[in-house]
Symmetry: D2
Subunit: 331 residues, 4 copies
């Protein structure tokens, strides 16, 4: 593949060490025929930057990366990079089954100018922990970009153990972790093993960044010493997550918890398309995109094939949840 016309992607940004703050996984708006709606995606990036986010994660699970062709992935990443215009670091997901395939995505992301890579453990295959370690080491060696491990057992059906992550943090294979495991006890064990709240920056991996992907327990993760959050719901309400992060950084845990609670209530939008009729994944992605459409950020709430769309009633319910949470639908 070549990227004629892209221009020089320039050197990647130096990431803050550790990367911290609110780094939403950017939704990928689609047009009527399933094509990337680059105008909407650009508006979405501006919406997120206006909300004060500290970084952007393109081509994550919430970006429907698993539904995008290679060409679409390149388009989406280019669009995010151009819209971000160097104001915050852009992390690129390189989601695929095993090392050789992930490497192809990693090289493309590097060529396009991504600032860091985010890779899961291998999936589809059954992979031994030593093979998972080798996977990350291969990626790190072959591509000269900071590498984040993406722990998402619901998708890849294996869990990165705290001891494995600590090993890969300690030898500079990994620049950070995006923990979407939902296993907060395991996260706490990792943070403690890395030195804990007091000694993380002088511990065995001082620049290592721990980001939670669990958007409902961000106050808790920050209290435990996590550096930031990658919230799918942050597409809809980036400013809310930034307020939550700022409160936590200021040590105002009561305010952080109150903000988190408002966001938990907002998150219930993911249930509007109930299970007998559609999958939980489609329901959540559909709700986020419906919300972005209702808020006037993107042109359509369309999700990728073969996901089922939300019903009109469900979309109306999403609108009511927005209003309840203090956001203002414009459609």
């Amino acid at each position: 593949m070549s990227y004629v016309g892209l221009g020089d992607p320039g050197a990647p940004m130096a990431l803050p060490a550790p990367l911290h703050g609110v780094v939403p996984p950017v939704c990928t708006p689609l047009g009527p025929h399933g094509e990337i709606d680059t105008a909407s995606l650009t508006r979405l990036v501006h919406h997120l930057l206006d909300g004060g986010v500290h970084g952007l994660f393109a081509l994550g699970s919430t970006s429907e990366a698993a539904y995008l062709t290679d060409a679409q992935r390149a388009t989406a990443l280019e669009t995010v990079l151009e819209a971000a215009d160097g104001r915050v670091p852009v992390l690129a997901g390189v989601i695929d089954t095993t090392t050789p395939r992930v490497l192809d995505h990693a090289r493309t992301a590097a060529a396009l100018g991504a600032d860091a890579l985010v890779a899961t453990a291998p999936f589809y295959t059954r992979t031994h922990p030593r093979e998972i370690a080798a996977h990350f080491r291969h990626l790190r060696t072959a591509v000269g970009l900071p590498l984040f491990a993406y722990d998402i057992p619901a998708a890849v059906h294996s869990k990165l153990s705290p001891s494995l992550v600590r090993e890969l943090a300690g030898d500079d294979t990994l620049a950070g972790l995006k923990d979407s495991s939902g296993d907060e006890g395991s996260l706490r064990r990792l943070l403690t093993a890395l030195g804990g709240r007091a000694a993380r920056r002088t511990g065995p991996a001082p620049g290592f960044s721990v980001l939670t992907g669990s958007e409902l327990t961000v106050d808790a993760a920050l209290l435990a010493g996590a550096d930031g959050v990658v919230p799918g719901l942050g597409n809809v309400d980036p400013a809310g997550y930034v307020r939550l992060f700022d409160a936590a950084r200021a040590g105002d845990w009561e305010r952080a918890a109150a903000e988190q609670e408002r966001l938990v209530a907002l998150f219930t939008m993911v249930d509007v398309g109930p299970e007998p009729e559609m999958g939980r994944s489609s329901s959540a992605l559909g709700a986020f995109k419906a919300a972005l459409h209702l808020l006037g950020v993107i042109d359509r709430g369309t999700t990728a094939v073969p996901q089922r769309p939300l019903s009109d009633d469900a979309v109306a319910e999403v609108g009511r949840r927005l209003t309840s949470a203090g956001l203002t639908p414009v459609r």
Copy 2:
């Protein structure tokens, strides 16, 4: 069955509504032939009360209830009740496969004087959510004691959804929840649905108690509005969990988090008997009991058949973890 010689168990204590604080699942010390070591169990209860705990949970998973015969369960519960002597409420686990069998345990627990019951969803069988609801309603109707649901998917292989718990909280089937699911996002959704931090006591189930069984994220659960904790590790360091609870109640979240972190480091004792040699469950129970033995609380670290014992090296390592956490082995 009759319990001649028990004397009048007296009326159960009125539980605080909601039940709150530190409510450890009491380990069950065993003698050389696997019998209940009632003297050690009595000392353990005193150790817990001295630590300032707010209640006791007998016959839970950490109590090895699944390894105790009916006669042993009765002995253990009687011993805990006598040792507690009404100073704190005693909750009794009634762990069995389905409603009819659980009812037998519930009637025994009531006869012995337990103050409340703690029941899981049915297990071994595959049970529909409406059948799980019926299960709790049967238990509540048949036995006149407050009923706590025990959400422990690792053992029963189904999860109690926030909406199901809310339904059973709202119609007074349940007095509370012990959440050992490890799913902190789900817990947060439940707490928010019950009114959240500000409005729990005026919400749809004002006296409902939410206790986390996740001993590594207690600060987080309390920040989210949980009422208390049921920590297995609280057998070893009850005073530490009480300090954590008190810090949280005082709104000193930094202190709560620091205490939690010390307890997370202490908790690593559960890994001393590693997986190729023994199961995770045996390793954790063995470590807690070894620690209690090293601390001079109980006479032996023996776990029930068919669990494998910790090696001498592993026990020595437990001792080092105690010392690191500021506790003082006496053996």
Copy 3:
């Protein structure tokens, strides 16, 4: 517990070595208040014996053992033993969480006169394979009855590996295996490791009995060298399974497969109570009992609490499936 009035249970029958043929897990008919309907259970045993079965398995999963109190289990086992009257061996399930609790059931079953025991791996707890081996060895040593391992991962959430079963077969811990794992490849590996079709009786465990619990692939299991079957559906159509077994023993595999196919069609009765409304387990047990009621064998199709009952429409559909398979409802 005592069993006054039981009379001398007599010595257990010597089991055939290996136990072979059709050994149905006997359903447990219930009365209007959930009590054991011993008259119906007696008729059911006669129905099975009239069908030509080679043994009876009381207190299995299909017997709703997980829903029966200890007293009910004793009543059910006594009734089956009395009704069988020594004409075929009676195996007794001893389903409970761990060794000490299983031992209590095993001693009761021995006292009541069971001819053999059937035990699962421990459940509710997480148990290491070496602990599972110790579990079976304890049971075998403590109770002087032949012991069958019951491999049912859907209920206990662990699988007995072929190598573990072979080990326990080879040292006479186990007299046989009831394989309800549904993992026919694993079963084939075990049978081959035991000597295969030609050399099973001169292999490492010559008297070891391998019974499949997978009622839809009995022809396949017998072709692979299994000794018999424990079919839940055999309650409804014992004669069908006996014909299948006889055809296989005669080497008439085409006839065996045709009979199996008729039984597969009959088995679809388990789907009449579909998943949005009730669990799969309730639906299957409800269908078997409804069929027995429609065939005039038992007085009521009632299943144990908290299972949901089949609707009238579902019961009518069960009747149609009976008729399609050549059986004759009398109600």
Copy 4:
């Protein structure tokens, strides 16, 4: 991508309806740097054709398709097609996460001249059964090649239900099923629903092909009415599987079972690289490739990154298993 130099792939072969017989998933030999070893792959195809196989499945799980880049997949498929030279149909796996990505692979496979496509349910994402149905319908509509569903829950973590497969067979979405679920009861239910042994060819989907991927129970699947088998082990011993198929077709089930048993013993080679050291998937793929190397068919036993290699001892053990099964290592 373009396929300069490929020449005209020609029209795809008309598949037999139903496709039947032995259709091995072709291993993908690799060179010292992980590149496709096309000379070895060509020899492997000839080895399979010499063994009498009825079709070839390129780019399946056993082909390590999940480890091959798009360019490598194209090379492997081209090589298989050229080596097969129209003598048997070549099915092409199109393994990827969701419809849009699978479509890219499907169009490439069609362009290269594959005779049919083999697609799994979506993975990585959580997908509703109606979405899975839509997935297959999209693929069928967009690419004019016969489509086989590949049911492999161990990889994709969802199971295709018999009712879903029957629906998609009945409306001509699917030409067949490759069932690697290991759920032989479910397979039996499907075969019965399609008319059974006697009426498959006049049933609701007369040309529909049911192939089992369970290489240890092929005799059983054929007895149940399956049309053929896709055996990973068939790379090593294609002639053995052809003898098994021929015996079954001749109704000589005893001979079929004996041949199956020999192959089950040979299959134990997958255990030579045990779990504490490497994954089960790596161990099986490594053993098949080591065997092909020892038999002189391919130049190296190398597996793709990040899989761990077999030890020398393990390879030697593979050699012993070959000899035991009557095959003749040449190295």
